[in-house]
Symmetry: C2
Subunit: 161 residues, 2 copies
């Protein structure tokens, strides 16, 4: 398959398309943002996202089904048991997507008011950003990437035929 025209590959097997299937709805990314900000409780998320109980409940249920969040019981003194929503490893692995969206928003949409939130490395206080690097340690520009089919690719002709 080396050297094949990438346009002949079946789009549906593309990891970007699969990822977009799971996280491509705007609300998924916003709930993830809340989770990365440390929100775990239904009432906090509802308050911050400004959606109805039923809408948030169905969205959180969908994200639990997708394995992005998991339910965890907690109990405040003197209260009944409640449920927190905690990022799974699969959910946590989406953090680079959120950071990449944030830095794009900071660069292109923040306007004169400036950056709304600074993200800093807890260890040293320096600003955090998402960067493309290769395994040899080079910082990579979008124009310096070549793509070739991997083992999981399918030719569109093979799918259609």
């Amino acid at each position: 398959m080396r050297g094949v025209d990438l346009r002949r590959l079946d789009s549906a097997t593309c990891s970007v398309a699969r990822a977009v299937d799971v996280v491509g709805q705007p609300w998924v990314l916003l709930v993830l943002r809340e989770a990365f900000h440390g929100l775990r409780r239904f009432s906090d998320m509802q308050d911050h996202l400004g959606v109805s109980r039923s809408v948030l409940a169905s969205r959180l249920e969908a994200m639990v089904q997708e394995g992005l969040l998991e339910r965890s019981p907690y109990r405040e003194p003197g209260q009944r048991e409640r449920t927190e929503y905690v990022l799974t490893d699969k959910g946590r692995d989406l953090y680079p997507v959120i950071v990449a969206l944030r830095q794009w928003g900071d660069r292109h949409l923040a306007g004169e008011a400036g950056v709304p939130i600074h993200s800093e490395h807890a260890g040293c206080g320096a600003a955090v950003h998402a960067e493309l690097v290769c395994e040899a340690g080079h910082v990579v520009d979008s124009g310096d990437v070549v793509r070739r089919p991997g083992p999981g690719s399918r030719l569109r002709d093979a799918v259609a035929g």
Copy 2:
């Protein structure tokens, strides 16, 4: 504003929310993927995305309006002038988002068939991925990020009041 509870910040001024407003529709990310794969022509995109002419036309128009793509005329020998859709700098700056989505899909959704497409550094052939780094050069884990309000943040109380 240092030390303020991030939950008190107005979500609408968040760069993630603003970015999601622009690119949070699944089709925007898929058209961007095609553009990063080198597709510029309406007919190639339509063929690859499998959408109708009118749907693709309105999506491309929306992305031109948002400044992610720009129109550029071209003419094949003996044919009438046509329009290509070319990434702007603003569009090209979304590449880390696409790469971060791709690597998440590769890791969590590729299944037994394996990775559909390898992305490699043109300079050295090593695999490319998105990584969180700080300006001091440390690789940063999602748990090692602290957030504090920047100049463009707003308190929710201030907005409501």
